[in-house]
């Protein structure tokens, strides 16, 4: 309070950051606008000066996260035979850098507000299309299955992190090429 925080440059960003963390940890309903405000160091009604409703705040957080994940998948550069592996790594990196947002994206579909579901549906449509397009362009066989596989492991990782059940994703530790390309291991032995 001494001389006004430097950080007050953009309160809106601060609110988005705090909201991302709280929404990711406590979900949509248990995160009150009062808690978001408190985390930023602002009064609760002030949040509504930037976001018309709580839902609008949630959607804004989601949108930012979505932009980030989409950009990450878009900017991956790798030769076709390494594309899956590299995109998997990009996802893991994103998870490390922006854990809140990534977990939020992977869990948002369970929030039963129609507007949120619609938004999430559109986001995953785009993500799916983007990944599928990249896999297809790289000449990867069965790209639709690989894309589903890729997204499904994203979901599994989110659950594993949320529940703190690391061995659900033990394959992440064992070998470094991860996230989706298990076809390498699968069938050179039928035991």
């Amino acid at each position: 309070m001494t001389s006004k925080d430097d950080a007050s440059l953009n309160r809106k960003e601060q609110i988005l950051d705090a909201a991302a963390a709280l929404f990711a940890e406590n979900g949509y309903y248990k995160t009150t606008t009062a808690k978001v405000a408190e985390a930023v160091g602002v009064t609760q009604p002030y949040v509504f000066h930037f976001f018309k409703t709580k839902e609008a705040l949630y959607l804004a957080v989601l949108e930012r996260a979505y932009q980030r994940i989409l950009y990450a998948f878009t900017s991956v550069q790798a030769p076709p035979e390494l594309l899956q592996e590299t995109m998997g790594k990009a996802f893991i990196e994103l998870l490390a850098d922006h854990r809140n947002e990534i977990l939020l994206i992977m869990m948002a579909y369970t929030t039963p507000e129609p507007v949120i579901r619609d938004h999430t549906r559109r986001q995953f449509e785009m993500i799916y299309e983007r990944v599928l397009n990249r896999f297809t362009q790289a000449g990867i066989a069965d790209s639709e299955q690989k894309t589903s596989n890729f997204i499904s492991f994203g979901l599994l990782i989110a659950m594993s992190e949320t529940l703190d059940l690391p061995y659900l994703c033990r394959w992440r530790e064992k070998d470094s090429d991860s996230h989706q390309n298990h076809e390498n291991h699968d069938n050179h032995d039928s035991r």
Copy 2:
């Protein structure tokens, strides 16, 4: 009201059924005890006669669903080379017969009540162990990865159903052996 429903034999079961449907559709927080009561045709405080808290009701619903899914996976009988496929089918069947409960199980981990998360963690531990054990006993190679794969596709299916995004799981339509055994397709070409 005429002659008293025959179904009033076990109000508790009715409440569990109604709660499962409502929790699956509207989530934990947006499902009020009043709505559950109304769905059964009972007053709201009466729900608390059977379940001490709303949370206890949710956990009871979850427990019933969990028992069902665990039993389904346990009672699958198939030769080793068909085990994965058959268990996948068992899951799909369960999803058809008890959609609410299955979707609920796959989404419960996002509910931020500590008690619910603990319960869900324990449930998935058991499910993972059960599936892994069956795969291992059948001599399936890389059984840990296959188990992760199996569960991750369960999550993907849940999201696909919840968001009504069928093409996320297009592989379910294309060929009949589904849910986890993609190693068959994956690598007879590396391109």
